[in-house]
Symmetry: none
Subunit: 249 residues, 2 copies
């Protein structure tokens, strides 16, 4: 991950309005930190700080220690260039609606703006009011099961934070880093195929006078996984062991 | 949402291995239901059913009531065509790795296969062992903060379930790509591996008393291409021909 992605994640504020279950604040902090977010803003929480929040944060207590507590939503949004409010409930006056992926793409578009970016979450019981949504540029809607759309507050934070991180990372052109093993080149693969067909012929499974379908099928199979050198060596070792049992031709 | 997407979501099993915090089972059920998943399978849970799980499920208690409890992972995976294991830890012998979005796309490719699709989650403390991952075609890795990657179990389930729903919904209406040939299911692959290791042992290439690395390497190789039924048949025909040359054991 490049510094650019982290810099952008650092600009994202998660704003929780009047959270009633204090444990949820801790779980939300944990969800944020797993995805590299750090700015937590609490608007008029019922109780904070609390032992329960700290317990649930489970190692993300630095986010709780740095959390800002404010009285009103406008205070929480000061200095923001982009504000998005999460809500499952559609409004009579429909707000510009984004799904989480579109919201993350919106964040990308704001990457070079100087201000911060806020994602707002309403209280557990009542969600976001129309007045609160008025402060937002967009409404973000998680496309949940129509018959059971009640995501837990921290689960909603997790989904939004995950989508932000995923989208920013993929825009960054980076994939998950994996120890790369050397792949077998074309020549090694050709030698492997010759060896394979030789043994297949040796045991009487493949007859060269027949149509070439079997050869093609085998190549199609073993080309798909992009075999590593080590794997080709194993397979050839196995073939050599088989050959010892075959009559000399 | 069309019936097709729901039908595919109905085929997805969430498999939780040896969950220690019983509340997490309830939170996982809630996370699943919000995204339209319904099949919960518990492998040797520490405690189930429990009042705490039911309280946390918060309206998703039907998933708990219908949950299957089994003793071992293989039992949980019976009848599955595609098995993916979630794990943050990279392995010495790297398993084919997908991020959640790629995993969801893999599920799309299996839309027309008859069997179920399993996503496996390890226990809270120890995650998935190498042996458990051996049962999986792919490892799914949530691209978390490298310095703090400890997603809560239910949060991981929420992310995977969300990504499945999002990807399926956005593919909906499009022509879901279909492999023309039927893929070999998990059961057929298991029989193929048994046959392969038997012959490898027969020719003296594989010694079961040795570490299991060879078995793992072979599984990793043959899981990657997603073998078709026809390919498994060819390979098994080849193995049977080899066996004719081996001394009877």
């Amino acid at each position: 991950m490049t510094a650019d992605v982290q810099k952008l994640l650092d600009k994202v504020r998660i704003v929780l309005i009047r959270t009633t279950e204090t444990g949820n604040i801790g779980s939300a902090a944990r969800a944020m930190k797993t995805m590299g977010l750090s700015q937590l803003v609490l608007v008029d929480p019922k109780e904070f700080p609390s032992a329960k929040a700290t317990a649930r944060a489970s190692g993300a207590d630095d986010l709780l220690a740095n959390a800002r507590v404010v009285d009103s939503l406008p205070q929480a949004l000061e200095g923001c260039d982009l504000v998005m409010g999460t809500s499952a409930r559609l409004r009579d006056l429909p707000w510009p609606l984004l799904d989480p992926r579109e919201a993350a793409e919106k964040v990308l578009q704001y990457a070079h703006q100087p201000g911060d970016i806020a994602v707002v979450f309403g209280s557990e019981r009542s969600g976001m009011s129309n007045e609160e949504l008025d402060h937002c540029h967009f409404q973000v809607h998680i496309p949940a099961n129509e018959r059971y759309s009640s995501l837990n507050l921290a689960a909603s934070v997790q989904v939004i934070a995950y989508e932000l991180r995923m989208t920013l990372l993929s825009a960054d052109g980076l994939d998950i880093e994996q120890d790369e093993e050397e792949l077998a080149g074309r020549d090694a693969m050709e030698r492997f195929y010759e060896h394979l067909f030789q043994v297949m012929q040796g045991v009487g499974y493949y007859r060269p006078e027949q149509p070439k379908l079997l050869r093609r099928r085998m190549k199609r199979l073993f080309n798909r996984p992009m075999m590593t050198h080590a794997e080709v060596q194993i397979m050839r070792g196995f073939l050599s062991m088989i050959e010892k049992y075959l009559p000399r031709s």
